[in-house]
C-alpha cells in the first residue's frame, strides 16, 4: 500500500517535460508502481491537451499558419515509412524489484548494479543522467542509517525494497519522500529486509559531519 505520492508540481513538471532527467527517472519509476499517480499524471496531460486545443486563441500572426502543401508533405512522410520517423521504442519492462524505466538505466536487474561502498555498510551506484540533477541507487543494510544530511535543493527518494524511517514518517516500497532544503533528516533502514532506494537531488547533499563532507566530492553525491 503506497502512502506517499508524487506532488502536483512534480506531476505537472513531468507532464510538461520540464524536469531534470534524474527527477524524470524517479517520477517514471514511481508511476510504474502507482496507478493513482498514473491517473493523476494523465489528468495533468489533459491540461496540456486543453492548452494545445486553445493554442490558437490568442495568436494573431500567421507564422503558425500551415501551408497548403503541408498535408501532402506529411502524407509523403508517412508513405516513405519509418525512415525519418523516430523508431518506436517499446515501453520498458520491470526487472525484479526495478521498475522498467530504472531497469533501462541500470541495464538489467539488481545483479547488474555496480555498487560502491560509501561507509557504514551503505552502498550506492550513480546512474548516468545529465548534470542538471543526479540520480543514484542506495543500498542500506537493515537497521543501518544514512549519515545525517540536509539539502540545498530538492531530494526525491523512492523506496524499491525494505523500508526506512526518519523524523517525518515511515517509507515503504513504492513510497516517495520529497525533501526540501529545510529538511534535515537521518533515514534509518528498518530491521528485517535491506533497504534499496532510488534517490535524486538537484543540488549536492551536504553532510553534517566532517568526514562525509570531505568525501562528498569524491563520492559525487
Amino acid at each position: 500500500m503506497i502512502r506517499h505520492h508524487l506532488s502536483d508540481a512534480l506531476l505537472m513538471g513531468y507532464s510538461a517535460g520540464q524536469l531534470p532527467e534524474a527527477f524524470n527517472l524517479v517520477v517514471a519509476s514511481h508511476i510504474s508502481m502507482c496507478d493513482e499517480c498514473r491517473a493523476r499524471l494523465e489528468s495533468f496531460d489533459a491540461v496540456g491537451g486543453a492548452l494545445l486545443e486553445s493554442s490558437l486563441d490568442d495568436v494573431v500572426e500567421t507564422e503558425q499558419a500551415v501551408g497548403g502543401d503541408s498535408l501532402a508533405a506529411t502524407m509523403a512522410r508517412i508513405r516513405a515509412g519509418g525512415d525519418q520517423l523516430r523508431k518506436a521504442q517499446p515501453a520498458p519492462r520491470r526487472q525484479g524489484i526495478l521498475p522498467g524505466p530504472l531497469a533501462r538505466y541500470v541495464g538489467g536487474d539488481l545483479d547488474a548494479v555496480r555498487w560502491r561502498p560509501v561507509g557504514g555498510g551503505v552502498r550506492q551506484a550513480i546512474l548516468p543522467t545529465d548534470r542538471s540533477a543526479s540520480a543514484r541507487l542506495l543500498y542500506i543494510p537493515a537497521g543501518a542509517g544514512v549519515p545525517d544530511h540536509g539539502h540545498q535543493g530538492t531530494e526525491l527518494t523512492l523506496v524499491l525494497q525494505g523500508a526506512f524511517s526518519d523524523s517525518t514518517d515511515r517509507f515503504g516500497p513504492g513510497d516517495i519522500e520529497i525533501a526540501t532544503e529545510v529538511d534535515e533528516h537521518s533515514p534509518v533502514a528498518e530491521a528485517g529486509v535491506d533497504c534499496i532506494c532510488l534517490a535524486a537531488t538537484d543540488a549536492p547533499l551536504r553532510f553534517n559531519t566532517l568526514l562525509p563532507r570531505m568525501l562528498q566530492p569524491l563520492l559525487r553525491i
Binding site: A28, A39, A46, G48, E53, V66
Partner: protein, 194 residues
Amino acid sequence: MAGGMTILTGGTGNAENVETGEWVAEMLRVARDSDEEAFAKLFGHFAPRVKAFLIKSGTDGALAEECMQDVMATVWQKAHLFDPARASVATWVFTIARNRRIDILRRARRPEPEDLPWGPEPEPDQADALALQQESKKLGQALKDLPDNQRELIEQAYFGDMSHGEIAKVTGLPLGTIKSRIRLALEKLRQSMT
C-alpha cells in the same frame, strides 16, 4: 467499420459535435481503416495547433513546420494506440508533440513509465470514453475561465521553460475550478483504469 462507437460517431457526423467527443471518430477511422479523409480533417484541426505550440515553446517557424509534420505522421502511425477512455485526442496529440519538443530543443531526457499491463481495448467502453471526453471538454472550459494571469502561468509551465521550483509556485496557487476539474478527470480515469 465496426459499429462499436456509434455513440461517438453518431449525430451529424460533424467532428465539432460536442456530444460525440471531439475528433474521436476520425481517430478511430485512421486507426482501423487508414482513412486518409479522416486524417485530413484531423490535420486541418491539429496541425496549426501543434505548430503554434512548438512556436510558443521557442521553435522558429521552419523547424516548427518540420516537427509538426513529424508529430502528425506519428499521429497516423500510432493511431491504434489511442484509447478514448483514457485521453481526449487533443491530450494524446499533446503528449506526442511534447516528446518531439523535448528532442528538438534538447531538453532533459524523459524516460517513460511502464505501460499498463493491458493496452487499448479493441472496442473501447463507450460510457467510459464519453465520460472522459466530456470531462476533458469541461477542463478546457475551466482553463479558459481562469483569470488571465493564472492561465498565463499554466501556459508558461507547459509551453515555456520553468524550473521545478517555479512550477511548484503555480500548482500552489488557488486555481479553484481547474483543480476540482483535474480531480474529477482523475476520478474518471481511475474508473476507466480499474
